[in-house]
Amino acid sequence: MSRIGVIFKRELIGYFATPIAAVFIIIFLMLAGAFTFYLGDFFARGQADLIPFFDFHPWLYLVLIPALAMRLWAEERRGGTIELLFTLPVTLWEAVVGKFLAAWCFTGIVLALTFPMWVTVNILGEPDNGVILASYLGSFFMAGGFMAIGSCVSALTKNQVIAFVISVVVGLGFVLSGYPMVLDVFSGWAPPFFLELISSFSFLTHFNALSRGVIDVRDLVYFLSLIGVWLFATALVLEWKKAE
């Protein structure tokens, strides 16, 4: 087992050793259910698919993933364990990736626990399970994107509340970057290619493509490179500010 694996294991067990795991799982499942059935009109639509379920994922993640991510580095710094971690024979990169993968894997576990939704829709009708699988995949990758943003913001501050608020705002920027709310800031003065660039950063565009059942490599590459860039930024921020 590599050192990334050792860190991954410790972190993942850590979620379950504290009430974080239980609270997060319960809240996520409750909200996902409530949104699907009440706001999404799951039954009244009369269609055997999980679109009303997945449609709310970006918004759920927007609030819940920063709550999970805010402690990633802020807590290490507050408790002084960051000094312990970085004087052990591990590289900065191994620590950043190990901790991120554990957090991402935890969201994967939570996502997998929504399987009763899939069971329900299969009992009620005959959904396209390929589309559902693609949607799950898209949702998982999008969760990784939110988590990587949260990781970087968490590295910036000792204060978990600040980390949470900033992560939500940055996440909102990425969710809405294809929408007028964000684009209007740039339209009128920025060149058209820049506007296209901004809107191509939208989580929603890429997630919606995946959740329609189209597994386009470009959408997966988008999320993976987004994760890579934010983790790289996390490492830079830690190198710069780890002693503060």
């Binding site: 087992m1 050192r3 050792v6 860190i7 410790r10 067990i13 850590g14 050793a17 504290t18 408790g79 002084g80 364990t81 000094e83 312990l84 970085f86 004087t87 052990l88 024979p89 591990v90 590289t91 780890k242 002693a243």
Partner: protein
């Protein structure tokens, strides 16, 4: 085993460590002394590779900490200030984690963790979350993670801070048993500790090394070094003080305690020479009723104050 060359660290306009050079070899226990904010912790953080020096180099076992950090860190054990640990873990799980990070697996890992727990007496709390442990146990957990891989270099930032006298004694005993085959650097505010465990003491103030020597050499810098404390039971004739000052080698005699039944004097020598036999002969000749006659070896805290106060007064 540890070699610092012209090490310096600045935080913006603040000079935390200023041109510090020294080496520590196997079998040495170096005590870092100095007021708060003197640069002790900063120096330790640079030795362990947590902080990047602004200038200068640190070598641990021949490996440059900046250029070959993994190799340097492998032979290093570090107890950071306040002994941080992952509070939700049990000492057992925590030590297994540290052991795994350091590359031990299977039976070797089990053996090392068990041995370390035994060394620092953690077996009784092995399965309690670290957050629920007392300060003394938390410190021992910190010490345990620093020695689980039996490092050749040990850096301990205030290892006995916040411990009760028994726990201090235990930790010092542990450090002493490890001292022969390791190079140890520890920082402390407790000056008696320097005598108890250190073979070498270094006073740091404002980021600079002020003195470097054995604890005994350091004490010799005290103005009370080799002074004699003489306590006599009265009634005494007048002029005892003058008589004491007349003893050969005596520079001055001070009354330090004056009561109806007893009087005590501190007799200071010229140039720190031993004077106890001369004083003893004088007391014998005069047939004084001697209650106490002892040599003052000098006071580290007095040396510490006289060396670090002027520097502090400037800030």
């Amino acid at each position: 085993m540890v070699e610092l060359r012209r090490l310096g660290k600045t935080f913006g306009p603040i000079i935390a460590v200023d041109d510090v050079s020294f080496t520590v070899g196997r079998g040495e226990v170096l005590g870092f002394l100095g007021p708060n904010g003197a640069g002790k912790s900063t120096t330790m953080k640079m030795i362990t590779g947590f902080l990047t020096p602004t200038r200068g180099t640190v070598k641990v076992n021949g490996f440059d900490v900046q250029e070959q950090p993994l190799e340097a860190k492998k032979s290093l054990g570090y107890l950071p200030e306040g002994a941080p640990a992952y509070g939700e873990m049990t000492p057992l799980a925590f030590l297994v984690f540290i052991g795994e990070i350091r590359g031990f697996r299977g039976a070797e890992l089990q053996r090392r963790v068990a041995e370390t727990m035994e060394k620092v007496n953690l077996e009784g709390v092995a399965h309690q979350p670290i957050d629920t442990l007392s300060k003394g146990f938390k410190r021992r957990v910190g010490l345990a993670q620093a020695i689980v891989h039996d490092p050749s270099v040990l850096i301990l930032d205030e290892p006995t801070d916040g411990l009760d006298p028994n726990q201090k004694h235990e930790v010092r005993g542990l450090i002493k048993t490890m001292a022969q085959e390791k190079a140890i650097i520890l920082s402390t505010h407790v000056l008696e500790e320097v005598h108890a465990v250190c073979t070498r003491a270094m006073i740091i103030a404002k980021g600079k090394v002020i003195t470097d020597g054995t604890p005994t050499e350091l004490e010799a810098r005290s103005r009370w070094h080799n002074a004699v404390i003489l306590r006599l039971r009265g009634p005494l004739p007048d002029g005892v003080q003058a008589m004491l000052e007349g003893v050969p080698g005596v520079r001055k005699a001070e009354v330090i305690d004056e009561g109806p039944a007893e009087q005590a004097y501190r007799i200071l020598p010229k140039d720190g020479q031993p004077i106890i036999s001369a004083v003893s002969r004088c007391a014998h000749r005069q047939d004084w009723d001697v209650v106490e006659l002892s040599v003052d070896r000098g006071h580290l805290d007095e040396v510490f104050r006289s060396l670090t106060m002027p520097a502090q007064a400037l800030t």
